[in-house]
Assembly symmetry: none
Homo-oligomer: 182 residues x 4
DNA sequence: AATGAATGAGTATTCATTCAT
DNA sequence: CATGAATGAATACTCATTCAT
């Protein structure tokens, strides 16, 4: 990374990617310096781009949401959306924690809204497909997501699969098995 | 009561009480020194009684479970058990985190077993009363508890009441309203 | 250990034995509490008997010297005396450190005098036997002891044997091989 | 010179200088904070430069060896080398301890090798000059150094001069008197 | 006289944040 | 703008010493 505005954008991206990795690997309390080092960037640059822990966490989470947005833009179904959330929550449970605990209300609210939009976009077809019961509102689906994601965040590695499977059942959500549908 | 074995027991109790407060107020990462100070004992005594953060957290959580055990021993219903869990999770969400993340597997497993016993004891009557659906197993109830408790732990203060209310609904759990029965 | 003056003597002995073990195992900076625990005695008792670290260290070293005194009383030769010193220094190098650094001048001087007496007692025969050169004074022998003991104290485990062997050579001291003479 | 890479080198040097002083004054167990304070840098900087006690001790000892290397490079004799060792050991006996006990094997071995090289470089002329007996190997000289240095490290201030003088004699080493040769 | 819990000062260590270059 | 060293407050943890029982 050298100088100039082009480099600035590159650094930003590198930092976000690094943050996703580091938070996944080391958890909520990972030292910010680890992120800078992983990104191959000075401490100062991390601070310039993201003045608080919440800011970098939010940006990392942002990338998660963006992934789902891309999925939906490509025609993904509600089931696939929920599946991806599940995957994200499983592989990096800390991210939820960091984002919720450190990014300001505003930021959290904004991320939540984007998720809501995605749910709303896929919900009608999802109802028809039987992914969720007919009477579920978007808020309900969002709540399901939160319940499952939070539980995943606090579960040990080996109990995650059964936990998530049964949780969906109790909540009336029907996802196809993990085995990629042919 | 400053020295001697009599004081030891008192100090232990004071430390546990302090830990419950401090973890509730300051969260998972509260400085252990704060617990010692709140309990009115020296740092060394905290370490003598509870050599690790997990140990004191486990003991504090223990007290939570003990409260529920007392409730059940006094004839509490499943609905009341769930209500108390909800209350504990709301007032001290951090405790779940600390216990899960710091007390060893063994400890966590043992606490979980005690909860299971309480659920099993109250489940039959709970089914009859309509607190939970007929087909719910004790494992299912336990899972409901975990889902709600985890979500509470990661929610902001003002969204907790609606969150928990709707969660129970989605999970098919029916609790009486919080308003104390006249 | 119960009470009364008989117990007091027992405790004292147990503490000294424990100190020899602990200093040997854990080195100079071993926590005094470890000695009390090993001796099966309360912290307070350790303090009653030995008010300072130097006091307990001195007493432990005392036991070392006493062992040699017993050896000489039983007709031990200078070579045997030096061999026992070597053995003590090898198995518990820390003791020298602790004693020298913590016991007061007076104590150290007194221990040194007792060693001198032992050397003087065995020196004449030692000269004849060729253990040390004819012209060695007791002071010289004492110095040899100090040189070798100090070096042992600061050597790593596996270099001790060659170190001590060659040291004696350079110093003109001739000890029989370790293999017990039949 | 407060920040930047230029200051880094200065700070490093200041830390090493401070460490030499502090270890000399306060011994092996001197608080690392004292070194930082003496060097006029923050605690963090000490840790950045030297992550362990052994690292800073090794660096300090390193400086000792470097002094001798400079001496040899300037044509110093074996006698002068031994004299400088004696001086270093006398003025800062702790350094030997710290280095041996805390710097890893590798480090210690490397320092020892450098000393060996210096001895080997000056030994032939030293033999001719009568500083050491003809038959002494470099290993022998090294051993003499260790014996004397260790003993100095564990001697009280006022016995050092006679101790070291007589030690050299017993070991067959002949150094000129301390009085600077005109 | 013995016990062992309580104390709290002392030290190591980490890391968010700043800032000279 | 980027860098990465410097900072120092915050925290964990240990252990010598005291003292009520």
């Amino acid at each position: 990374m050298n100088r100039g505005p082009a480099a600035a954008a590159e650094n930003r991206a590198a930092l976000i990617a690094a943050a996703r990795e580091i938070f996944a690997e080391q958890g909520v309390d990972a030292p910010l310096s680890a992120i800078a080092k992983r990104a191959g960037v000075g401490q100062g640059s991390l601070y310039r781009h993201f003045p608080t822990r919440g800011a970098i966490a939010g940006a990392a989470f942002d990338a998660n949401v963006a992934d789902i947005e891309r999925l939906v833009a490509d025609g993904g179904t509600l089931a696939e959306v929920l599946g991806m959330v599940e995957e994200q929550a499983t592989s990096s449970p800390a991210l939820i924690d960091v984002t919720l605990h450190h990014s300001g209300e505003a930021r959290a609210a904004q991320l939540q809204e984007r998720m809501m939009a995605l749910i709303e976009a896929t919900l009608p077809a999802g109802r028809v497909a039987g992914t969720v019961p007919e009477h579920f509102t978007a808020d309900d689906v969002m709540l399901c997501v939160r319940l499952v994601a939070s539980a995943l965040a606090e579960s040990s590695l080996d109990e995650r699969v059964p936990l998530v499977r049964r949780s969906w059942q109790l909540l009336g959500v029907r996802l196809p098995d993990k085995a990629e549908p042919e």
